[in-house]
């Protein structure tokens, strides 16, 4: 421990909770529940192994517990509620990775963690280890309400209006093993934010919630519905402008009841709520929801302020020190070290607390596998979180991690420690900060590999001077139309397709997951992996040639249109 760290040993909060900031602390009810749930799954595994359950019957049960059968092994997806972890939990991931996987884990675009090399027979033991640290794999798959996602800067962003974490926790508890909504037509994903800047990709979720304040200061939600990617991408439509806080649960129940009753079950590709909303039209859908809502005994579903207060007290406080708003240490380090300065520019965001900063750890080293973290790296990150960020770590939907409460004075030391484990790259939001799904190297549904392509792009653009010159440019890669890699909303999206048995890639330009959201347009015929690399070079080249001062890639694209890019990419064809 550094001397400064020792000097500000954090006192355990008075309420007896451990000192991890920003984390909901389980109570006995949560723990008892989790124990029972692990035992239930242990028996389900035993019944499957004994032949009392067929694979067809077992599959939805294991999926409800985040367990997939992939190409080479089972994959276990662990829920990280709204993307926030304690250092203790991250260390436990490391332990599981060593003991039951090949020594690493993979952070996903849904802020979760996946282990790719799991044995079915080991899963109950792994769930025991997870339960030790208040974690589980419930509802990370299956046609149920999935793990709720949120803004990775929740509670610390300077542009935040309402802290979404407490509502996310309400949603976590409410959706856990929901008796009515565990066999929906299809999966159901809810995202929530409380900021004007949307870092949670609200517009591509089944339900997106933006917490805000009414004229009288009370909290309410702007409700969006029917967003999603996959085969038929849709940007969500607005369902309600201001849903009062205490009606949150009742209203969501109404939305889900309408979906469960009327969502299509005849065709898996038309089963998401986005199709129901599209086929009915948003107004007719809203009428159905409001009619259901009006019939409900709303008082029984009322989210009383006292419940929220109770939940708030189970979040440990963030014991900030009173600091000068401007750190001399930081300013000096930025002047002295260009590389550090660059990292601060891309990977550090403004904190609402004077003297603090939000640091993004991009899990995208040059040529690396997006989102992969080894057990040793997990241990180091957990230590760094203890030392510099109240023991708290967040996962972003861009497959990165965040330390959300770093003293500006500590940034130089943090960066050095990160660089030591290969995660000091100054590339957050840049062209090598690529999202990639597991693709054909792991995934049973894939058409093409995603990871090796991401690695090659990352190598091709490894030069940081060039990356910083190019500026904000998001590449997102999916190995098939299910769009786990969000390719539709990539500034440059890459979709793996099967061209007569050969892997090929289709490019889209102009997608965005920020505020308004946009689905990218297909640039032209699919390309080989080599051609795709050249095509990205060509696209970047056109942008650099044509951009006017201050324009980001998306701005230039919006001004000059697709044609110049298309002409350049397909010139040789």
């Amino acid at each position: 421990m550094s001397p400064t760290a020792a000097a500000r040993q954090i006192d355990p909060p008075a309420n007896g909770l451990s000192s991890h900031a920003g984390i909901y602390h389980y109570d006995q009810v949560d723990r008892d529940f989790l124990k029972e749930r692990v035992e239930q799954f242990r028996r389900q595994v035993a019944r499957r192994l004994a032949g009392e359950l067929t694979e067809d019957e077992f599959k939805p049960l294991r999926l409800m517990n985040g367990l997939y059968l992939q190409l080479h092994a089972y994959m276990l997806r662990i829920a990280v509620p709204y993307g926030i972890l304690t250092s203790r939990q991250v260390r436990q991931f490391g332990r599981i990775a060593r003991q039951y996987d090949k020594g690493f884990g993979h952070f996903t675009t849904r802020q979760n963690l996946q282990f790719n090399w799991i044995k079915l027979v080991d899963v109950p033991a792994i769930l025991d280890l997870l339960a030790e640290v208040d974690m589980h794999a419930i509802q990370t798959s299956g046609n149920c309400i999935r793990n709720v996602t949120s803004d990775q800067f929740a509670g610390v962003a300077s542009d935040e209006v309402v802290d979404p974490r407490h509502y996310a926790e309400v949603l976590r508890q409410w959706s856990t093993l929901h008796p009515e909504f565990s066999f929906l037509p299809r999966k159901f994903k809810i995202a929530i934010t409380g900021s004007s800047a949307d870092r949670a990709a609200i517009c591509i979720h089944d339900v997106g919630l933006i917490a805000k304040r009414g004229a009288d200061g009370t909290v309410g939600f702007e409700v969006y519905v029917g967003g999603g990617l996959g085969r038929t991408p849709f940007i969500a439509k607005k369902l309600r402008d201001f849903l009062p806080e205490d009606e949150l649960i009742a209203y969501l129940e109404a939305v889900l009841r309408v979906y469960n009753a009327y969502g299509r079950r005849d065709n898996i590709y038309k089963a998401r709520i986005k199709i129901l909303v599209h086929e009915l039209g948003i107004d007719a859908f809203r009428d159905e929801v409001e009619a259901e809502f009006a019939r409900m005994p709303v008082a029984q579903y009322r989210l009383e302020p006292a419940i929220l207060d109770g939940i708030r007290t189970r979040f440990a406080s963030q014991p900030y020190e009173a600091l000068e708003p401007i750190s001399g240490i930081l300013a000096r380090a930025r002047l002295e070290d260009q590389a550090f300065n660059r990292w601060v520019r891309t990977n550090v965001a403004v904190h609402r607390q004077p003297g603090y900063a939000i640091a993004t750890i991009t899990l995208k080293p040059a040529g690396g596998i997006p989102g992969d973290v080894s057990a040793d790296q997990m241990d180091v990150i957990a230590d760094l979180a203890d030392r510099y960020s109240f023991g708290e770590i967040r996962v972003t939907h861009e497959q990165n991690l965040v330390l959300a409460h770093v003293r500006q004075d500590d940034l130089p030391a943090l960066w050095k420690a990160l660089a030591d484990i290969g995660f000091g790259e100054a590339n957050s939001g840049l062209i090598t900060d690529i999202i990639a799904c597991p693709g054909l190297d792991y995934c049973a549904l894939a058409n093409a590999r995603s990871i090796p392509l991401a690695q090659r792009i990352s190598e091709r653009f490894a030069d940081l001077d060039r990356q910083h010159d190019i500026g904000e440019l998001k590449i997102k890669i999916s190995g098939c139309i299910n769009a786990c890699g969000h390719h539709h909303v990539g500034h440059i999206g890459i979709l793996g397709v099967d061209k007569k048995g050969v892997e090929a890639y289709q490019l889209t330009l102009g997608g965005s997951a920020a505020e308004a959201g946009a689905i990218g347009d297909i640039l032209g015929p699919a390309l080989s992996a080599d051609e795709t690399l050249d095509a990205i070079d060509a696209v970047v080249g056109v942008y650099l040639d044509q951009r006017q001062d201050g324009e980001r890639f998306l701005d230039t694209l919006a001004r000059i249109g697709h044609t110049p890019f298309k002409d350049k990419v397909y010139a040789a064809h």
Partner: protein, 100 residues
Amino acid sequence: MARVTDAPKVVTANRLQDGAVVWLTAAGDWSIRVADAQVQTDASSAEAALGIARASAARQEVVEPYAVDVVVEATGPRPLKTREWIRAAGPSIDAIPTAA
């Protein structure tokens, strides 16, 4: 998926207990090496092999067996489709992230 082709075939599945990729051998059991797989050159022997595999699935040994097109090389059968050779050979990428 189930397109009928004339290519020689091997039968594969994932093992129930650990999910490992396995290949049906001439002895009617499962090997984790594709080189051990018995190659079926006509439709009726392929169907018979699938029957053996399905019986094995019914005994909770493997999950969802199916036949895969291969070419037979000196080292043994090699699956034609990318998906299947990745299953046979493991991920095409370094499975362990590069820690500095």
